[in-house]
Amino acid sequence: MQITIASGKGGAGKTMLATNLAHFLSQSGQVTLLDCDVEEPNCALFFPGVYTSLETVSVYYPKWDSDRCTDCGVCSGMCRFNALIALAGEVIVFDKMCHGCYACSELCPQGALPMVPRGIGVVQSRKTGNLVVTEGRINVGEEQAVPMVKAALRHRDPSCTIIDGPPGTACSAQEVLAHSERIILVTEPTPYGLHDLALITELCLKLGKEPLVVVNRSREPFGPMTAFLKETETPLFIPENKDIAHYYSSGEVAWPHVPVLRDVLEQLRERICHE
């Protein structure tokens, strides 16, 4: 089972739920917690230890060979991302804008644009008890997260993986959602929370996956959200609770100490493991 915890809005409680759910499920079997929020992975903070495996991730981009180039300009007109620009007598490559499609390299009549690798980050893992914590971590300054997300996704464990997805609905979030069997959306009962919940729900439905919504920091009912949730699978609610915030901000999983959270995790296990 591949379960992704996602949220349209950042700060809704995605990582809190992912770390707690993974740790909770690991009490009764092997679980992989896969942090695909590659621009700011933080699940591993909750499970200190030494990384025991490390894989470097590279992308390929064209490198201009001035000796071979005849200044024909074919390459420059072809790039949909304008990642390389032919000036008189020179081709300038903006490697971070390159999407690695190989078109310029393959179609250069002189073979003057060989593809070369550039490291963009790492995937690293550590294990505590039944729980394997794996994170994708992109290098500072890289502009495209999708290749890094793809590399991290290769480390899914087919039996049980909890994925902490990137926030929002952009390409990197779509990449993760498309590879998930079950999607749990975390939101909060505010206008901002509802706005972004509607966006990501629409995205999930377009991908043919009906999400399960968890409303975090639930207080008095927020009318417009209640109305929205009537149209979805029966949602779950995590009440607003200072203890959860306290344990989370101390870098600890809260569920062993907070019964209301434990209840929600038990209900989640019922729902997702009985499908």
């Binding site: 949909r80 304008n82 990642a83 620009i85 000036l87 020179e90 300038i92 804008m97």
Partner: protein
Amino acid sequence: MILAFTVTANDSNASMDPRFGRAKSILITDENFNGPIYLSTDEITAGAHGAGPRMAQLIAEHKVEVLITGNGPGGNASALLSRMGTKVFTYSGEITAQEAFTQWKKGELTPFTL
């Protein structure tokens, strides 16, 4: 000397366009404001990515020595422009291309640095 201005319409009395990569049009003239002629940027601004570098390429193709624009080009476009030795100046406020030219002539415009 060839000068380029980012403008909002094909008219020397039209407002300058503060944007570089997504400028509506490029006005090309010389140091006496002869011409001017206008370059279509539709194909560049229609693309989702890399408008700045493409615009810099267009500027290079016309052998522009002085570029006058509002916000200034971004990092990638600036790298190309400086490679070609194009001098970039920025203005402030809402002015026409004609007014920007006059300010440049009087040496009142700020040289652009990233």
